[in-house]
Symmetry: none
Subunit: 401 residues, 2 copies
Amino acid sequence: MIEHELVRELAEKNDSKIMMLVADGLGGLPMEPGGRTELETAATPNLDRLAARGTSGSSVPVLPGITPGSGPGHLGLFGYDPLEFKIGRGALEATGIGFELGPDDVAARGNFCTLDQQGRITDRRAGRIPSEESVRVVERLQAVQVPGVEVFVRPVKEHRFVVVFRAAGLSGAVADTDPQATGVPPLAPQPLAAAATRTAAVAAEFVARSRSLLADEPKANGMVLRGFAGRPALPSYEELYGLRAAAIAVYPMYKGLARLVGMTLVGEATTLAEQIAALRGCWQDYDFFFLHFKYTDSTGEDGAFDRKVGRIEELDAAIPAIEALGPRVLIVTGDHSTPSRLKSHSWHPVPTLLVADTCRPDGLTGFSERDCLRGGLGIFPAKHLMMMAMAHALRLGKYGA
Amino acid sequence: MIEHELVRELAEKNDSKIMMLVADGLGGLPMEPGGRTELETAATPNLDRLAARGTSGSSVPVLPGITPGSGPGHLGLFGYDPLEFKIGRGALEATGIGFELGPDDVAARGNFCTLDQQGRITDRRAGRIPSEESVRVVERLQAVQVPGVEVFVRPVKEHRFVVVFRAAGLSGAVADTDPQATGVPPLAPQPLAAAATRTAAVAAEFVARSRSLLADEPKANGMVLRGFAGRPALPSYEELYGLRAAAIAVYPMYKGLARLVGMTLVGEATTLAEQIAALRGCWQDYDFFFLHFKYTDSTGEDGAFDRKVGRIEELDAAIPAIEALGPRVLIVTGDHSTPSRLKSHSWHPVPTLLVADTCRPDGLTGFSERDCLRGGLGIFPAKHLMMMAMAHALRLGKYGA
């Protein structure tokens, strides 16, 4: 990224603090034509006041029309072009359950399946066995050993699990073993590059030994593996921006994403109040703070418009406590939109607010999708947000004389 | 740049005139929250009238958050991506003092320093000797000759000077000789590429001979050299746009930047009135006119809000005389923002106005940062301004059938 070259060249250090408050899935839609979005419906006196002081805009997570997952959504906010920096599915899945990937790890997502006597798949999801059941089977798999490799198996949910192979020289370039059909056996792990020959052999060995071990399982007696991937190569916040960064998140996925860019996980919060307390507790020790608020997304995913409105209001009420810490730059944004109407992530731009004393007034008096369209940040790629944050923190020098 | 490929392919000639009025550092900030910027404060009846006729927008000189120097700022306005086309520090310094770099020149910025008996630096800036003193020492250096090379030494300000080596086959890939510390001797000039071996030897010879000559100087008895660079390879306005371009600037830096893209320097103006007279005098002879107004930047750098307001009003008063010449396209913009509040260049977008009979009305009735946010040009990269100018001049043909 040319942006990274610039930032590396121009970054300077000072004692200013940058606060990034990410309301997951913040953007929304009206439930009916002519109606209001969740954010437009919510009473947000604090955000409105900030909008009058700061500069607003609409963040495009990846590209217009592209709906991001949590990985690309956050990478963009952190200043990594999500089209250039990719987190493989296995690595994201491991990250999402809080498994800390090391540099020698290759992770794959596993699905338990049911095989017949001839080894042919009869159910690609092992009857969607309940999570407790899956935990028990994964427990049995801890006994599987592959010579020369450390193996970690972790349950995810229902029939899904993660397997991580740890050894020097492994590679994520291994094809999925899911034939995407029943009546045929799982595919053998095939290397997609010469460097992955050993990894494919390791995976094949793991699958063979697992199959012997699980032969007596009524449903989960086989597996398919997908999305082999190592830890993505992401420059750290410290290296890129010269920022000591702290992350205050409740859910493993967001903790994992923050860890991948070198943020330090702070606190063991489970509520927003505890997150704010954790933030306050570490304020003197870091330059950058990522606080992740999950519930604007999960309520949107549930299609629970009113509950999402409530969660936005809960977030708004927390703003004064954050302001009181005195960040030089305060950002409120989301990693993507999650309109209750769609019950899913969407491609719509994300309302974004940047507050600093160096903001040029854009005449807004409220914070909402509609307001942001008239804001001074315009409609902008999420990957540029960190550069603006660095600029307003007076942490970027001049380019050229 | 894909834009240059397009422009080269599509450029057509006609007798229309394009006028670009650059108010250096035009964009600003309020001094206090809720206040007005310099441009919002200034009474600008002429610019407001033009805004009603034309299309406005906010120009981003380099990328969001990036504060440009004068070099990148102007290159963007001239249609050269400032991330692709770079002017090395030595070349910019030479340009800034009006030294016309040739294709065989390599320029470096020099700092006089003080050396002890053992040749170790005791003062990296030679006590910041006054400019008169520096002029005298530079005068002595005119006697230094290096076989096979023409050498030019020119004073800049205080302890700073420029040295230019002229010979076929020289290269700017030479490392700085400044050790960035005292107590150690200056570094020897090291080639950073094989092609620069001779240049490094030439520089070393120059330094050695200078040192003998200046041995009796009480303060400026040594030197360090930085930012070796040849003339940047910029396609000319004529070649790129098919435009005969004239530049009317007062200060050497802007004359130099214009010369680098092949503009002809016109007039010897020192006031805006004289600049307008020079413009009038050459109107029939050129297609494109760059008029540089310095004082919106220098007052901003001084933190002199009211004086910047006054300079904007002075510029506004000159508009009718420019309009009277009948340009097909009239642009008013800046190379970057220089808010009085920050007393420096900044990253904020630059209010920009393009007036032509082919403008689509955007409903604005005034020209200011806030107005421009609602303008038809949107928030756009500065490097695209020239393409829009060419289009409104009806000088760009259709792309594809």
